[in-house]
């Protein structure tokens, strides 16, 4: 009975988070085209609904009703498995993201943490682990399609993800050294009390370099412009998902956007204080509304996440694609030394000035 109830509450939480993520993906598909349109001085989608706001629904319906094609000579089993392998790791990482303040509420006589599905003590490693699994979907999708464009896209992606994953991991180490925990909940709590406590500028050693390395590497890990070589249109048609159509294509598409949201959430939680407001406490608390103070925290978290998502679109509108050798040289010869140097300096600073 107790277990059943706990399971039901957990499932409800998971459903709520998945709902929010899927909704955000829908918003993003429209927002990306609108932001790009605005930056390029055009309107973006305008046909479906007022100002084109219903465009994501039309797109979803279109993808749903499209013919599902499996190319001749493709490996049927892996071709079906690949989109699932891409999507599941992208969604599963949200389990450890704290969306709001740490608090417990009584529900049917149980302690429930409403703003994080599971506060495990290795939260950030959990996200890294599943982010690295996402590469399999791309590689296998590219290989099983039996097409040279797909295969090249998959191979590029494999090399790229391995190279930049390393930088993501090393950039995070500085923050872990300062906070002394791998749990995203504890890392966020360590940054409470104003923006000067956020790890991006926190004493004893501001993680500004780690932040830059993290943001650039996470753009590369999500295969976004300017690192979108696995799906470079001008060279590889559409890269690893050239042969995909219908819902399988939609899975890859959703996975890319869910990954964008995930890395934005992690960036906000690690470097920009997560759900903490840039001033101590919350305004709602000061004016005597403690019960709904969590709303302010959640809004701050959403604002930070959307800032990063906007950054993704901004980069896409601004930067041309890197060449492949430039990508590798940049990852190994520029980012890696910066990340390693940051670890050494942070360790020294954390040793002499413990927080």
């Amino acid at each position: 009975m107790e277990i059943g109830l706990r399971l039901a509450v957990s499932l409800a939480q998971i459903a709520a988070v998945m709902g929010v993520v899927m909704l955000t993906v829908m918003v993003l598909t429209l927002a990306e085209r609108k932001v790009l349109g605005w930056m390029q001085d055009r309107m973006g989608p305008m046909e479906v609904g007022p100002y084109g706001v219903l465009q994501p629904i039309a797109d979803g319906l279109k993808l749903f009703f499209k013919e599902d094609i499996i190319p001749a000579g493709a490996n049927k089993f892996l071709f079906t498995l690949a989109p699932i392998l891409a999507l599941v790791p992208a969604l599963i990482g949200f389990a450890v993201i704290p969306f709001g303040p740490t608090m417990t509420i009584e529900l049917f006589g149980m302690q429930v943490k409403p703003f994080v599905i599971s506060d495990i003590n290795i939260g950030i490693l959990y996200i890294l682990a599943f982010a690295s699994i996402g590469a399999y979907g791309i590689i296998l999708g590219g290989w099983s399609s039996n097409s040279k464009y797909s295969l090249l896209g998959g191979l590029r992606s494999a090399a790229q993800v391995i190279s930049y994953e390393l930088n993501v991991g090393l950039a995070i180490v500085g923050v872990i050294l300062l906070s002394g925990s791998l749990s995203l909940v504890k890392i966020t709590e360590a940054q409470a009390g104003g923006f000067w406590n956020w790890f991006i500028i926190a004493m004893p050693f501001p993680q500004i370099f780690a932040f830059v390395v993290y943001v650039i590497s996470s753009v590369a890990e999500t295969n976004r412009v300017p690192f979108d070589l696995p799906e470079a249109e001008s060279e590889l048609v559409a890269g690893f998902f050239t042969e995909y159509s219908g819902m399988r294509f939609a899975f890859f598409f959703i996975a890319e956007y869910a990954n964008m949201i995930l890395v934005s959430c992690v960036a906000a939680a690690l470097f920009l204080g997560g759900w903490n407001a840039p001033y101590p406490g919350t305004i709602l608390e000061y004016i005597g509304l403690e019960r709904i103070a969590w709303m302010e925290n959640v809004v701050w978290f959403a604002a930070k996440v959307y800032f990063f998502l906007f950054l993704f679109f901004w980069l896409r509108a601004t930067l041309p694609r890197l060449r492949y050798d430039q990508l590798m040289r940049f990852g190994w010869k520029v980012m890696l030394p910066i990340a390693l140097g940051n670890i050494v300096l942070t360790a020294i600073a954390a040793y002499f000035f413990p927080r």
Partner: protein, 171 residues
């Protein structure tokens, strides 16, 4: 409950390990290796070693196996037949090893000399801090030796990749 999980993980690990060498398509072999890594990680979780579980997936599944797949796909081997006529020899050796292990197990049980396995290995060994402290104090020397070996391997790889390194120096 713990036993159910253990036997599930153990059974899947054993099956997929056999499949890695038995399957004819190298990509499928790599995939069963991936499933095995996941279940080994699951075994760590049942032992309350969450840190090891995560590292297992990050390092083996996330980095090493992706490289394997990369190579397999670059060579584009559709199926590998060369080593499958070794099956009789391998089977014989396997049966011998199995008998040895079983004999040893029976012997140790009858002699009742099996060392008592502590249910709770190190108090809170799942903790990242505990692992870190043990690595950098008790096991510092083995740790440094291991990193030295890795460094040697790295230098070796660089030398192999840059065969013309000496020629450049001589110029």
């Amino acid at each position: 409950m713990d036993h159910i999980f253990f036997f599930y993980f153990a059974a899947v690990i054993a099956t997929t390990s056999v499949l890695v060498v038995a399957l004819r398509n190298p990509v499928y072999s790599a995939l069963s290796l991936l499933i095995m890594f996941f279940h080994v990680a699951g075994l760590y979780v049942t032992l309350h070693a969450e840190f090891l579980a995560a590292v297992q997936i990050v390092v083996y599944a996330g980095a090493i196996l992706v490289l394997y797949l990369f190579v397999v796909m670059l060579l584009s081997i559709k199926s590998e037949e060369r080593y499958h006529n070794q099956l009789p020899v391998a089977g014989l050796l396997g049966v011998m090893l199995c008998t040895e292990v079983i004999l040893l197990l029976i012997q140790s049980r009858t002699a009742a000399s099996a060392p008592a396995v502590s249910a709770d290995p190190v108090a809170g060994a799942g903790n990242t801090e505990t692992i870190g402290e043990a690595l950098y104090s008790t096991y510092l020397f083995p740790f440094e030796v291991a990193s030295l070996i890795l460094l040697v391997a790295m230098i070796g790889a660089i030398i192999l990749a840059k065969k013309d390194l000496n020629e450049h120096v001589q110029q």
